[in-house]
């Protein structure tokens, strides 16, 4: 029993109510409501790192009938990313929405989104995961259409309908699991699930639903318009965190619950789709004329890398080698989370000052907004995977796993993806550093520029130098052992 686990979920939920009741003070409530869960997450992480996985049976009901919250290495890392990114974005949003008419609505939804994310990362029960997934989807959709433009409403509606299809497919998988094994508690299922028709069908349905939500090629088409047309702080969390939630679930299902059910063939299919996503997403990012659209296509590509880890993980036996590869996957996901949120915030600053985000007309940005241009360059280093960023180490580990498992075929994809990423980042930097009239008269460092640059620094420096912490936390699992 550990009551600490309730706070990362309860604090944003309570402050969301406060923000609803007191819209005029919602800026302060929103920032505080994001900061308090960060403290709780830090405490949880410290405890997990010191003494292993934590578990809380809600209301004192034992798992099985009741619902358990669990925190282990993987969930703590995702929680840390989500809490740190939302903190920085909240500070940014308090400036971005300072005088906006709809800031009350924004903050309520924002805090509910944090509640859903944290509940998802802590949940130890399949049905509870479905509920948090829906809660996350619904809040994300409403946040995505806060801009109010026709394009953003259309994109949000498409996002909602596809998300609904995805979660229904996930839910039917949950039903099959309950029919087959009589429980939805993930710790009990980890031991119970054995390879067979029920497990295969359930896993395919649940994975299919989650792949829609994590925008794997060819199910990615809803992502670029939805992410590119949302207000900047919303795009940042959609791209950095919300798609990662579905990915986190796929990891849990594939590596812990259905360990031994997953076949190499299934993993290769997902890996091939990931590889296509890397090449196609990077190519589309290179062609994009708008900064935010480029960032959104880059998200499709970066998610592709994460799925390319699947055939590697499936080929490795459980043990140190697999933990190294899993650590690399998580490190890549974390680096992308921080770098992409920094990138979207910087794009938002440029868009606010210049009134547009057309890449070809960004000349002079580096002179008038030096900190923001620096942020984009730093985030670009992490997106390409140059040293000393976390993604450099992750890709390095990915390459060495390729050699260990003999799966050389993926090598050209990584090379092409990295080169294309270099091309689209340098094309952007070329325009930003070119002479031009600039995007605004201001030379001062804005309060909104600092959180963006901090996020980019975390991606490029902190995760690069402290990457070993990721590899130390990943093996602390609450769901040790599969049904194999």
């Amino acid at each position: 029993m550990n009551n600490l686990l309730i706070w990362p979920v309860a604090l944003p939920l309570l402050t969301a109510l406060l923000a609803l009741l007191w819209p005029r003070r919602s800026n302060w409530i929103g920032v505080a409501g994001t900061g308090l869960p960060l403290l709780a997450v830090l405490l949880v992480s410290w405890q997990v790192a010191a003494s292993g996985p934590l578990e809380l049976a809600l209301g004192g009901w034992a798992p099985g009938l009741g619902i358990a919250l669990r925190a282990d290495g993987l969930s703590v890392l995702m929680l840390l990313m989500s809490a740190l990114v939302t903190m920085a974005v909240a500070v940014y949003a308090s400036v971005y929405f300072a005088h906006a008419e709809r800031r009350g609505e924004f903050w309520v939804l924002w805090l509910l989104l944090i509640t859903a994310l944290h509940a998802l990362f802590l949940s130890g029960d399949l049905f509870n995961l479905y509920v948090t997934l829906e809660l996350l989807g619904l809040t994300a959709v409403v946040l995505a259409c806060l801009g109010g433009s026709r394009e953003s409403l259309q994109a949000a509606l498409r996002y909602l309908v596809l998300g609904l299809l995805g979660s229904l497919t996930f839910l039917i998988g949950v039903a099959l699991i309950y029919a087959g094994y009589g429980t939805l508690d993930m710790a009990a299922l980890g031991d119970a699930i054995v390879a067979g028709p029920t497990a295969w069908v359930a896993l395919s349905l649940m994975t299919g639903g989650l792949l829609i939500k994590s925008a794997l090629f060819p199910l990615h088409f809803w992502l670029p318009p939805a992410h590119a047309n949302a207000p900047a702080p919303v795009s940042a969390v959609l791209s950095a965190l919300v798609v990662k939630a579905a990915l986190y679930l796929i990891l849990r299902l594939w590596l812990e619950l259905f360990d031994g059910v997953v076949t190499q063939a299934a993993a290769v299919i997902v890996g091939v789709l990931g590889a296509i996503a890397v090449v196609w997403g990077s190519w589309a990012a290179l062609q994009a004329e708008r900064l935010k659209l480029m960032a959104a296509y880059s998200t499709v590509a970066q998610l592709g890398y994460l799925f390319m880890f699947m055939p590697l993980l499936a080929a490795l036996p459980e043990g140190a080698g697999r933990e190294l590869a899993l650590g690399a996957l998580v490190l890549l996901a974390l680096t992308h989370g921080f770098a992409k949120s920094a990138f979207f915030l910087a794009a938002g600053i440029i868009m606010q000052r210049a009134g547009h985000d057309r890449i070809a007309e960004l000349g002079g940005t580096a002179r008038s907004l030096p900190v923001t241009a620096f942020t984009i360059a730093l985030a670009g280093v992490a997106l390409i995977g140059l040293p000393p960023s976390g993604s450099f180490l992750a890709k390095w580990q990915m390459l060495s796993t390729l050699f260990v498992t003999g799966q050389w075929v993926w090598l050209p994809v990584i090379a092409v993806g990295t080169l294309l990423a270099g091309a689209y980042i340098f094309r952007l930097l070329g325009h930003a550093f070119a002479p031009g009239e600039g995007v605004g008269p201001s030379l001062s460092v804005g309060r909104e520029e600092i959180p963006a640059v901090l996020l980019a620094l975390i991606a490029t420096l902190l995760l690069g130098f402290w990457a070993s912490a990721v590899w130390e936390l990943v093996p602390i699992s609450a769901y040790a052992g599969g049904g194999a």
Partner: protein, 93 residues
């Protein structure tokens, strides 16, 4: 047992019909209706799972899950309808 299987299979067929229609239609309202048919199929599967023979009381867990699922489905449908209405209003302006 065969009766339970009949209900569960009906649920699966409903789910697939709904998914098929949702993927083939390109307007919002039929798509939403189709997704709701799919949802009904999923809930039917859950409800039929709860039956444990005449001698035992029904399993309460799937019932609780269906209730939660219904709430989620209704809210998501309402949100989609509201978004669709806003889009229509924009077209008329």
């Amino acid at each position: 047992m065969t009766q339970v299987l009949l209900y569960a299979l009906t649920g699966a067929v409903l789910f697939m019909l709904g998914v098929r229609a949702a993927l083939l239609r390109d307007t919002v309202l039929p798509r939403l209706l189709a997704l709701n048919v799919s949802g009904a199929g999923v809930f039917l599967i859950f409800v039929s799972l709860a039956y444990r023979g005449d001698s035992l009381p029904t399993d309460p867990v799937p019932h609780a899950l269906v209730l939660t699922g219904l709430v989620v489905a209704v809210s998501a449908t309402a949100l989609a309808l509201a978004l669709n209405r806003r889009l229509r209003e924009m077209d008329n302006e």
